[in-house]
Each structure stands twice: as structure tokens, then as C-alpha cells.
């Protein structure tokens, strides 16, 4: 396997996550348990499984957005592996700034901030000048068919597809070594979907480790190297398998 030779960017061990709903009778929902997975540089891992098996929860855990109950999530940040499951908030933020870009399902931004400013702010993180970041932002937005007439507008008024493309642009503007994608192409047309596919492939080529949820079979087969199938309702540990269509 090529993966064993490459630089490991993410290594998840014995990860478990549950929710306790205190206001609904203290119900405990076990989302997943004892997951193991790893992702190398330049590799794309697709999360698969039925709805409700915790794909998004896993992705959010990888971003430090959800706090797992057990296990560890080591992410290669600068020259060290940091465990996002136990790191203090400041470290998680630090890792996010430098290493992990996360494209959520829905765009969540400050009202009335323009699209280009949102993406510029993301692009500015790597110590870039404001001007350069702005150029980067404009280039990415253009590539995703968000024309200059929309740049100065706040995305709240955009269509669902446009909002999602702004969201994607924001994620890619960072050029982070780890990219987490939660259904990035869900509301996109074929043309834009192909742009996103190309962007993912380019990111992989530069050594980015990608973890994504792709419901679109076409996208998945185009970008994923491996598929990680979530176990059903906490019955069995997660297993990795090769995607059927990828050699």
C-alpha cells in the first residue's frame, strides 16, 4: 500500500462519541465507538454509511468541533502530532489556524460581511498580506463562478448553491494540509461540481489529506482513494474498505 510510505496527517484511535440529552430524559445516544482510521498526505478518505451513523459527527470531531468521549485524534500540526480529543482549546485553535480547513454543510458567517471579505479573511491566515489574500480570494471565487458582481455582497442574500460555493472558497483559500469536507457538492450544479472535484484533486496533489462526506457517487469516485464505512448504530467498530470504483 502506498499509504504506509506517505506522511500520516491524521491518526484516529479508539474514538467514541455519544450525546447525553439532559433535557430529554437524560437519553444517551451512542454515535460511534472505537473507531480507528488514518489519513496520509495526498490521500482522500471518504466517509460512508447510512444517515445517522455519525459521519458528520466524526468529521466535526476531527475539526475539534465535537468533543469525543474516548480515544484520540492525532493531527500532524507543524512538526508535532497533537491530540485534538484532549488538547486545550487554545491548541485546537492553533491547529485549526495552521492545519485544518473545514467546509461545513452550511455557510455560517457574520451578517452583512461581503463574500470577498469572508474568503479574504480565510486566505489571510498563512501570514499573507491583505492584498495577496484578496487576490487569492477573488481568484478562487471566480473559479467557483462567483462573479465580481457578487463579491461585495453579503452571502445571506445568495442562493443555496452560491452560499455553498462561498463556503468552499473559504475552505480552500486556506491551503491547509488537512481538509475536511461535509457534502461540499450537495447543492451544486454539474459545472461547479466539476470545479470542486478539480480543486480537491489539486489539493491532494500538493499533499493535502482530505476527509469528506460525498453523497454524490460521481464525486466520491473521482476524488476518494479509500472509503471508510461507518458502523451501524454502534454495533460494530468501523472498518475501512477500498472504494469499488477506485483502483
Amino acid at each position: 500500500m502506498t499509504t504506509t510510505m506517505a506522511l500520516l496527517r491524521i491518526r484516529v484511535q479508539g474514538l467514541g462519541k455519544s450525546f447525553v440529552l439532559h433535557h430529554q430524559g437524560g437519553v444517551r445516544i451512542n454515535v460511534f465507538q472505537d473507531l480507528d482510521l488514518q489519513v496520509a498526505a495526498g490521500e482522500c478518505l471518504a466517509l460512508a454509511g447510512a444517515s445517522g451513523t455519525g459521519k458528520s459527527s466524526l468529521l466535526r470531531s476531527l475539526y475539534g468541533n465535537y468533543k469525543p468521549d474516548m480515544g484520540s485524534i492525532f493531527v500532524l500540526h507543524e512538526n508535532a502530532y497533537i491530540d485534538l480529543a484532549s488538547a486545550p482549546p487554545r491548541w485546537i485553535q492553533h491547529v485549526r489556524r495552521g492545519t485544518i480547513a473545514y467546509v461545513s454543510q452550511f455557510l455560517r458567517v457574520i451578517p452583512r460581511v461581503s463574500a470577498v471579505d469572508i474568503v479574504t479573511e480565510a486566505a489571510q491566515f498563512n501570514g499573507r498580506s491583505r492584498d495577496l489574500a484578496r487576490q487569492t480570494a477573488q481568484a478562487i471565487l471566480s473559479r467557483l463562478n462567483i462573479g465580481p458582481h457578487l463579491w461585495s455582497l453579503a452571502p445571506k442574500t445568495f442562493s443555496g448553491g452560491e452560499q455553498q460555493r462561498v463556503n468552499i472558497a473559504r475552505g480552500f483559500a486556506r491551503e491547509c494540509p488537512v481538509l475536511l469536507l461535509d457534502e461540499p457538492t450537495a447543492s451544486l450544479d454539474a459545472e461547479n461540481r466539476d470545479v470542486v472535484i478539480r480543486m480537491i484533486l489539486e489539493a491532494k496533489a500538493t499533499g493535502t489529506a482530505v476527509v469528506g462526506i460525498f453523497h454524490d457517487e460521481q464525486v466520491r469516485s473521482a476524488v476518494a482513494d479509500r472509503i471508510f464505512t461507518m458502523p451501524g448504530q454502534a454495533d460494530a467498530p468501523g472498518k475501512e474498505r477500498s472504494p469499488d470504483c477506485v483502483c
Partner: protein, 295 residues
């Protein structure tokens, strides 16, 4: 360090990473110029702070740290002790117990609760800022906008009228107030403008730490959004550390890096803002999050 870095993990990796000596890694991690160093010193260390009024505890056992450039929101419902805590930390009232140490460029490491009043007053004119919910509490309504901004400079000994005025204009521009209004009394400003003026008045000495009590509290939603955006960009531009008291989780999400959730005077949950709001663990936090109205 050791629990964060998996020394045992068998890395099938390239040589540089294969020998993870914790100390050297830490150095490399913090030497990157683009990121605020993970291990620089905290600006504020709060330990076991408590305050009672007539025997009724308003806040107890509060401990946390704040780093330079970090925005920390204290959320919770009215009466949860947020504002009392803020007033203790900013030395507005004396805490009953605990200590708060502040790392000042001027005075060095200092204990806020035991510092003499003149030192605290000086901090409030220079390295600290205090933004009141009602801008009328933080402004001099009877003197012009320019003088409001210039006051801190004048108290620090700036004696050049032209320079003070230039600085005032600069800050009015930064907080998006038209420079034409420099000689107008803030009495005649809208609520949003007054609040922005209050912020400018505080920022003119480039403070390192700002205390904000519901800064968007009394404002229309439309004005609120603009102010939030402004605050956010100012915080990052000036590398401001902020302790922000708010009952509005939306405001906290947009501005804060970290959250403290307070209930009945205690911190019941804390962590990264998005983590606490998206994955709340404590029953009270779950209740708060579940109670947000979706627009």
C-alpha cells in the same frame, strides 16, 4: 505536552517527524511566525475568584486564563454573575477572594486585586479598555466626539492639538463614523454611533485588554451586525484580548474564541466557542443552546 503528543504512535512517516522529542517540537511549533505562539504567557490568570453581596454569592470559584489576542465570552442568563465577575476582574468592585494576575508591559506581573488604586486607574487609561452596555456611561456626552477620543491621549500628556485631532479622525474612520461629526456632541449621535465612539475612545491608546459588558445590548439588530463585524476586525487587527459579557449566544459565536458558561455564579462549562455551542455537555448549556431562536 506528553499527553498531547503521541510518542508511542508508530508513525510511518518521513524522518523529521519520526523522533518526536517533545521539547524541540514545542519550539518549532511556536517559532512559526504566522501563528500566535501557543506557549506565550497568559495576559490574565484568574484563580478562584468569588464575590458575595450581603452573604449571597454572586460568583464563586472562577478560574481561567486569557491570552493576548484572545476573545473570551462569558455567557449565561441575567443574574448568573457575569457582570459581577467582569466588574471584579476590571477592579470596578473588590472581589472577596481569589486572585487575578495581569501581565502588564508597564508594571510587569501584577495582582489586580491588591494593586493600589492609582495603578489600576492608570491601567484603565492605557492598557485596559472598558466598554459599557450603555454608551452614555462610558462617554462624556457634553464634549465633542473628537475630545471624547482625545481624552486618553491628553491624559497621557499629548499636548499637540493638531496631533490629537488627527488621531481622533483616524479612529473615527476606523469605527466608521464620518469625520464631519468630530466637533458634534455624542448626545446627538444614534445609539450605534455612540457605541462605536465609546469603543474608539477606548482603543485610542491601543489597549491590550478590553472588558465589554453587552456591547451590542441596546442596539437594533441591523446596527448590531455592523458593530460585531467592526469589533471582530478590530480585535484581530489590534491583537486585542477581550472579556465579553453577553447573554446573546449569537454574539458570542461570532466574536469569541472561547466561552465560559455561567449559572448561579459558577462556571458550568467552558471551551472553544463552537465546541460548547455545537456540542454542549452541561444540562444548563444544552438548555441555553436549545433556547436560541432561529431567525
Amino acid at each position: 505536552m506528553s499527553q498531547l503528543i503521541n510518542k508511542e504512535a508508530p508513525y510511518p512517516v518521513v524522518p523529521e517527524q519520526s523522533d518526536p522529542d517533545a521539547e524541540t517540537e514545542r519550539k518549532t511549533a511556536s517559532s512559526k511566525p504566522c501563528s500566535p505562539g501557543v506557549d506565550d504567557n497568559p495576559l490574565l490568570i484568574v484563580e478562584d475568584v468569588g464575590k458575595s453581596f450581603n452573604g449571597t454569592p454572586a460568583c464563586r470559584d472562577i478560574s481561567f486564563m486569557l491570552w493576548p489576542g484572545e476573545v473570551l465570552a462569558i455567557v449565561g442568563e441575567s443574574g448568573s454573575g457575569k457582570t459581577t465577575l467582569l466588574r471584579c476582574l476590571s477592579a470596578g468592585i473588590r472581589a472577596d477572594n481569589g486572585r487575578t494576575s495581569y501581565c502588564s508591559p508597564t508594571f510587569g506581573e501584577m495582582d489586580v486585586f491588591t494593586s493600589p488604586e492609582h495603578v489600576l486607574r492608570q491601567l484603565h487609561r492605557t492598557e485596559w479598555g472598558l466598554v459599557h452596555q450603555n454608551p452614555r456611561d462610558g462617554l462624556r456626552l457634553g464634549v465633542s466626539a473628537g475630545a471624547n477620543i482625545g481624552e486618553r491621549l491628553m491624559s497621557l500628556g499629548q499636548r499637540n492639538y493638531g496631533a490629537i485631532r488627527d488621531e481622533a479622525l483616524t479612529w473615527m474612520r476606523k469605527v466608521e463614523i464620518n469625520g464631519d461629526r468630530i466637533d458634534d456632541l455624542p448626545l446627538h449621535f444614534s445609539g450605534g454611533m455612540q457605541q462605536r465612539l465609546q469603543i474608539a475612545r477606548n482603543l485610542v491608546t491601543k489597549p491590550r485588554l478590553m472588558f465589554m459588558d453587552e456591547p451590542t445590548g441596546g442596539l437594533d439588530v441591523s446596527v448590531q451586525a455592523r458593530l460585531l463585524d467592526l469589533l471582530r476586525s478590530l480585535c484581530s487587527e489590534l491583537h486585542l484580548a477581550v472579556i465579553l459579557v453577553t447573554h446573546d449566544l449569537g454574539v458570542a459565536r461570532l466574536l469569541a474564541d472561547r466561552l465560559l458558561v455561567m449559572q448561579c455564579g459558577r462556571v458550568v462549562e467552558s471551551g472553544l466557542t463552537d465546541q460548547v455551542l455545537d456540542d454542549p455537555h452541561h444540562p444548563y448549556t444544552q438548555l441555553l443552546v436549545a433556547s436560541i431562536l432561529e431567525a
